[in-house]
Structures are given as C-alpha cells and as structure tokens.
Subunit: 450 residues, 2 copies
Amino acid sequence: MRQTAEQQWKWLLLDALAKEKREQAQQVIEEVYPYDIAQVYEELGEDDQARLLDYLDHERLADVLEELEGEQRLAVLRRLDVERAGHVLDLMENDDVADLLEELGPEETDRLLGSMRTDEALIVRNLLTYPPETAGRLMTNRFIWVGEDFTVGETVEKMRDYIEYSETINYVYVVNQLSELVGVISYRDVILAENTERISDVMETKVIRVAAETDQEEVAQLFERYDLVSLPVVEGDILVGLITVDDALDVLREEANEDIEKLSASGKSIDFETKPWIAATRRLPWLVLLLFIGLVSGSIISQFEETLSKVVALAFFMPMIAGMTGNTGTQSLAVVVRGLITREVDKRVATRLILRELWVGLIIGVICGILIAVIAYVWQGSAVLGLVVGSSLVITLIFGTLAGTIIPLILHRLKIDPAIASGPLITTLNDILSLLVYFGIATAFISRLM
Amino acid sequence: MRQTAEQQWKWLLLDALAKEKREQAQQVIEEVYPYDIAQVYEELGEDDQARLLDYLDHERLADVLEELEGEQRLAVLRRLDVERAGHVLDLMENDDVADLLEELGPEETDRLLGSMRTDEALIVRNLLTYPPETAGRLMTNRFIWVGEDFTVGETVEKMRDYIEYSETINYVYVVNQLSELVGVISYRDVILAENTERISDVMETKVIRVAAETDQEEVAQLFERYDLVSLPVVEGDILVGLITVDDALDVLREEANEDIEKLSASGKSIDFETKPWIAATRRLPWLVLLLFIGLVSGSIISQFEETLSKVVALAFFMPMIAGMTGNTGTQSLAVVVRGLITREVDKRVATRLILRELWVGLIIGVICGILIAVIAYVWQGSAVLGLVVGSSLVITLIFGTLAGTIIPLILHRLKIDPAIASGPLITTLNDILSLLVYFGIATAFISRLM
C-alpha cells in the first residue's frame, strides 16, 4: 500500500511539472518529505528541475538542499539568483551551509555569505574556523538554552518564542551567567514539573559534552555508547553549540565508508555520480603503487630464476600461496581496524590480541598446510614438492596473520589511521614475504625436487 | 579535566572492590554511566567481577548488561541465580533480552523466561517470533500511546503514570479503537498545546512507519533519510512497537562491520574477545575455498608450462598482473556495495554505472599498460615482452573493473548480498582471468619472445 501511495504522488508531481501546473505541484510538495523531493529532483530533466526549484518556497528548498548530495547541491545553488540563494542559506542548518561553502572558491563563498543575513553569516563563518570532521563543524546553534535562574514557566515561554528553533531537539540546556553549561532538562521533565519550580532545581547537572575540536568519529562513539539524541559542544565550559543524533548517523555511515575505501584501496569518495576521469585519478595512485610493489615480487622471482627454470611446477603454486597469505593478512587487518574503532587498546589488549592471532595463524597454517601438501603430492607425484609447498604455507600463513595484526596496531600507536595499511602495505608485504619463504625453501631442497 | 575525573572514579571503584567497601562502590556506581561500568567490569579479575555484580542493584545491572558484548553478557547472566536473573531480564529492553536468549539452548531459554514476570516473558516470546535482523526484533514496547479521544491534559496524566516507560522517547503515539496507528505528537507540542485540546486536533497524522518484517538495514535507512529519533512498527495498521534511534545507530555499525567482514572475507563476528579456535574456524571456510581457487590458477599456469619454461621471465610479471587485476576489481566492488546501500538501482542507474566503470577501466588500463610496457622493455631488454605485458594489463584491468561492477549488480538483482562476492569470487575470478589473458597473449607471441 505504501508503494502505491508513493507512486501516486510522484506521478502527480511529474504531471504537474510537465503541464506547468504550479498549484498542483505545490500541493504535492506540501505532503511529501524533503528526502523524497530530492530523490525525484535527481531524476528530472533540466527544464523540469528548473520548474521544480521555482515552485519550492524558500523553506522547502532549504530542506531539499540538505538532502541532496554534495555536487548536486552546489549545482542547485548556482542556479539560484544571489538574493534567493541568501534566503535559502539562511534557512539551512548552519553546519550544512559550512560544508557546502567549503567546496567553493573564496570569492564565491564571500558573495554567498554576503547575501545571507548578517547574524547567520557570522555563525557560518565561525563554524568554518573549526577543522573539518570535528565536533565544531557538526554543531547547530538552533536549540533552546535558558539561564539557571529561569523558572519552568519561563522556560516554557522561551520554548514558545523559539518554536521553530526547537523543532527536532528534545532537551533544554541550562547555562550560568558566564554562559557555561551547567545542566540539562528534557522536554519530558519540563512537562512533568510545576510551572513555579526553578529550572536549576529540576535539571540534571551531569551532562555529557564534547570539546569543539573533538574528532567526529569520537562524537559518534559517544552517541552510541550513551544512547544520546543530542550532545552539547563546549569551549572550556562555555556552551557553543549542539550536535544532534542525525549528524551522528551520517558520521557513522561516512566513517564506515572511509574504512571500506581504505581497506579496499578504492580511493576517496567515489560514488555512482563521480565522473570516470575523476574516479580513475582517485584510484590510480594506489594502482601505480601496487604496480611497483608487484614488480618487487617479480624481481624476487627473478632472483630465483634458476630454481624456477629447473622446477617449473613451482610456479603452479605461486598464486595460491601469495593469495592465501595476502588474504589471511586482510582478514586479521579487518578485525583489528574495526576493533580499534569500538574500543581502547592498551598494551595488555594488544598483547592478548597478537597472541590470539598467532594461535589463529598456527591453526589455519597447519590445517591448510597439510591439505595442500597432500594435494601437491597427488597432483605432481612428488612428496618433496608436497613438503616444500605445505611447509611454506604454514610459515607464510603464520607470518601473514601476524603482519595483518601487528602493522595496524603499530600505525594506530603512531596515530596513523590503520585502515590505510591495507590495500598496498599488508597485501603486498605478504606477497613478497610469501615468495621469499616459498622460493627460499624450494631452493634449499632443489636437488631433491629435480 | 574530564580525563582526571574519569581516572578518579575508576580508582575509587577499584579501591572499594578490593577492600570490599560496598557503600563506597555503590556511591561511585550511582554517579557513573552504565557503559563505563561495563568497561571496568571487562577489565576486572574473577573475584572483583563477582563483587561488582553483587553491589549492583537489579536496575543498574540491567543497564550494565545492555552495554556488555554478547559473550560477556551470557557469562554474567549465568553467574546470577535464577531469581535474580529473572528480575534483571524484566528490567532490560525486551529486544536485548530476545537477542540474548537466542544464543542459548531451548532449555536454558525456557528456564530464564520462566523466571521472568509473565507479561514481560510473553513480550519477549513474541519478539522471538520475528526473524533476526528485522524491525520486529528491534522494537520496544516501552513507549506511551494514547487513544485519539484523549485530551492533552489526559495525555500528560498518562505520561506521569508511565514516567519510567517514557524515559528516552520524545513522542506520544495515537491509536484508534482498533489499535491502528493514526497519529503522533511530540513532547514539544504537548508542552505548547492547551490542556483542554483534543489530541486528535493537535497530532500529526502523517507518520512514517515500518512493517514488522522489514529488514533492519532498511530501518536504519529510514532513520537516516528522514532524520528520525523513533519509528513506529506496525502489523497491517496496528501499532505493535517502537524502534528508537540508538538501535538504528547499532544497526548501522553492525551492517558496516558485516560489509567489511564480507569484503575482506574475514569471517562472521570476530572481535578482540573471540577465542583463537573459534576465530580460526570462522575464517577457514574462506581460506580453504581460496586454496582451491588458487589451485585453479595453478592448473592454468600448468597448461602454459611449455610457454613458461621457454620464457621464464614471464613469471616475473605474474604477481603484478594478477595483483593489479584483483585490486581494481575490489575497488569497483567496494564502490558498488556501498552505493547499493544508500540508493535504489534501476536499469538506468546500473547501465550508467557500468559505462562509467568501463571508462575508468580503460583510462587506468591504458596508463598502467604503457607504464609497465616501458618498464618491462628497460628491465628485460625485450620490446616484445614489453608489448605482451603492457597489452595484457590493459585488457585485464578493463575486464577486472567490469567484473567488479557487474557481478555485485547481478547478485543484488538476484537478492543475494553483493558483499559476499568479494574475497573469493571477484579477486580469484580476476586472478584466473588475468593469467588466461597474460599467458594467452604470451603464447601467441612465443616465437618472437624467445
């Protein structure tokens, strides 16, 4: 049923746009969520897009803009005349405006800020002083705060006055005369309290807060750990803004994507809309790096050219050994990278983890080693070859697992994001390692292999 | 400063546990968040753990249990006598209880459900009838609903009566006489409305909802798209529960971890606490699969044994070509897998994406191909070898990119999770492909290569 209702409004909207029926379009727009309008907008042709933008009032347009992706957002903004752009930016969440302006040149930024209301522009300029991906950049100033000497009745009054501001947040924050955060009270408790009570008597004084320069990943963690719906941002003890849970959701998604991008070395922020040339240039650095590291593997093999030319069958097991070692490293890496996000790692935890992975490597190595030794013996009819391949695999799997564990831990200790280690570092390190071990052992047994 | 305060309470708590000072411990526990107690608990020795459990009252213990990881949670529960376990389970969120019980055998489940209050046990049993990872399993019944004929004043009365229930949720849901969801009102609007107004006159009638059988990933998407803090669950139109945003945060984290596990073939739910033997058995299936697929690569090489034995230098470039092709496939795969989460993909989008990746493959292939051709020529002094290696790389990179794009799209179409494709499927498919292309071209030029 939901599906049908959805198709119906969409059909009505498309029809209204095609026939330039402003009123019909606006009626539909009234009833639909900004996210859905944004989805439709992305599917429209140029003319219909222009018409849709024209039919949206400033407030609706601001909401829709917040739902569009980065590049689409800029494109829309550039289609508006300066005055309208200013009005719309005034109505958008300030953190979204800051994100948007950051992608523009200084001239365009100044022009757009100039078109905004002075107070809103000031707030955005202030947000832009915080580094990207910090708490300061996520915060909004659209929330309600009261002095600690307010009564509950006065608080309700202020809520009435700032009704638009309080739309999605369910707490009133309490500050003292120095603007320092001293407490919080939920709307629920405002409802349940008597109008004459002083807010400082009913508020909760223990408030989880973050400093403005806190990394956004840590911010999202706090939301998860303490099941928050909003989180005040402070400088010293002074309340400067508020982060809402929808931002935490976005951050979680963003950070997970970043981890996956790094683990798969797929390059920064490539989505379905990215142009081929840009996507290619973002991926190329990793690939060129891999190319050169692959050549290192090649030169190792060339060192063992004599061994290889005597027993060509050794080449048959090369991809398997290198692939297995690379993969076991990636497996460990993934566990460590995700684990580091959700918990603190001290020496004790690290040692335990390394020992665990050592055991895992040993178990996996012995099982796979025996398996491949038997297969190699049956396939090539040489017990010595089976022994060489099997023992190589045991050793490389143990080392591979350890490399995948220890390297990200070291990088984490050095304050380098361990996810970056993946694609190139671990996989190819393990590649090189596995070839050295394999051909090393094979060369030692060369007389018996022939 | 926060750091110091943290260390202080922790020190006080550890001290109290060591010296068996029940009151001091309880004073500290009062002041600290459940998450923090859970963190400390995990670090304690057996005796201190037992003492801490003893010092926690039922309610606190329920909160702490919700913050512990799966296996730890079970361990704690098994340490409690049946009666206390029942009390604690009564106080936990029902969806958490259901998750917990599911990991137990039917006998232990029945025993624990038997120790709970009849009404709470019934609700949990009901939750357990929904499949894991659906909306029905995430929902809570701890929220406030009123009939559509209630006045605002009566609503506030009900909120007062169910004060414990309404703790974290900021909306009152409105149902008609058939228990069908007909509206919602925020606490904010309750505050701003007059006590005599009828709730049906002030409520919002447009309520985003999900069916109980909806997949949890879709649930998290709705929270993200519409910036929700809670989401009602319905069967037909009947209101059966509510999902809160903290569950959506957990789902997002969980789903991201699952994607990473699958992309890195690292095996299901391995964290820092997993025992080596369990971690090894979870990873082994992938590795054994990879082993056999690696042998397929090996047997392809063995088909070209003659070519290889004539020009051993061909082996030097094998790891590079296979590695590059595998990696370019994983890059495309990661983009597709993450993209599929955040947007709908119809034929038009899929075609555009495939064309984009074709271009990317072409650009990357040509650049890397030329680079390696020059290097191979300089290193081995053979222009033909350069040509063979370079042209192989162009072809394999294009095919590798396309495979990494098309395969997950097909799997998605067949309702199979595309992330599963990665580790084994894409990487090794590309491995095999690259060897076939490389040795195929080399064999064609063999007379000129020698």
